[in-house]
């Protein structure tokens, strides 16, 4: 699995005082890059709030670790979604915007999500050092 992102561009904002709503809907926008085997589930739309994406993916991976069933990530600005359905140690991934489905094992999914969080946290704190003092940022990208 290749799970990554691309920030759209530099943004001017008061990063230290940005609200959770700002971080989940308005800031750190970009593209999702997601490839599993031969399936490309990338969403190169430019407007995806990446902090929200990383936090939501982490929440989903956490839920799937404790129970079977499915969890759905809904994009913030469209009805598009990504669904993760756990069966045993594997997770089937489907989306509303690309045909097909792909399999990944849960530990790998969890590890990839954690890497995504770490990379995003590092990039954003490097570009915008004042975001380090934002409590919402710390909580949303808490890596545990």
């Amino acid at each position: 699995m290749h799970l990554d992102y691309r920030l759209t561009g530099p943004e001017t904002s008061n990063w230290s005082s940005a609200t959770e709503e700002d971080l989940r809907y308005r800031l750190a926008l970009g593209d999702l890059i997601s490839q599993i085997g031969d399936h490309d589930f990338s969403a190169p739309w430019g407007w995806i709030p990446l902090i929200d994406l990383a936090a939501s993916f982490a929440a989903i991976a956490g839920k799937l670790q404790h129970a079977t069933g499915s969890e759905t990530f809904e994009f913030t600005e469209s009805d598009a979604w990504i669904r993760f359905k756990r069966h045993g140690h594997d997770v089937t991934v489907t989306t509303s915007y690309q045909p097909g489905s792909a399999e990944i094992n849960l530990p790998e999914l969890t590890a990839k999500v954690r890497q995504l969080q770490e990379k995003l946290k590092t990039e954003l704190t490097t570009k915008y050092p004042e975001i380090r003092s934002n409590q919402h940022f710390g909580r949303l990208l808490k890596i545990g």
């Binding site: 739309w45 929200d52 939501s56 600005e77 469209s78 598009a80 915007y97």
Partner: protein, 134 residues
């Protein structure tokens, strides 16, 4: 051109006071309806226009049909919150999602097909965060 239009519109909204407040009646609980108040701020309107206005270049996002105006948008949001289905926002996102099917085209889906439904995301202070056709 588009940015200039948005700039003029934003200025207009700020001059108008910045906030547009309406009071939809809650469908399920008349007791709540009098307290229900949803606000469309100029910031939220800008957010919606940048992503979902007919001339927005944003891909992968539903678009309102040509002819949409801030007042029409407010009416659509009002009706959706009043008559639509409500559910909690997902995976820790704050607020509530309202969805309503107008049974007529109000825009286009991300694939460019006709969209008759509106999704409105409202925060815990009853302010609109975003709204888009799907």
């Amino acid at each position: 051109m588009r940015r200039s239009f948005l700039g003029v519109l934003s200025l207009f909204l700020l001059l108008m006071g910045g906030l547009a407040v309406f009071q939809p009646a809650a469908k399920a609980d008349p007791a709540q309806s009098e307290q229900m108040q949803v606000t469309l701020t100029s910031r939220a309107l800008r957010h919606i226009m940048e992503r979902h206005w007919p001339d927005s270049p944003a891909s992968g996002a539903g678009k309102f049909q040509a002819g949409i105006t801030p007042n029409i948008l407010r009416d659509l949001i009002n009706e959706s919150v009043r008559d639509g289905r409500a559910r909690p926002n997902t995976h820790g996102r704050p607020g509530t999602i309202y969805e309503y099917d107008f049974q007529r085209p109000i825009g286009t889906t991300i694939d460019g097909g006709p969209a008759s439904r509106l999704r409105v995301v409202v925060n815990n202070r009853n302010e609109v965060i975003t709204a888009f056709p799907f």
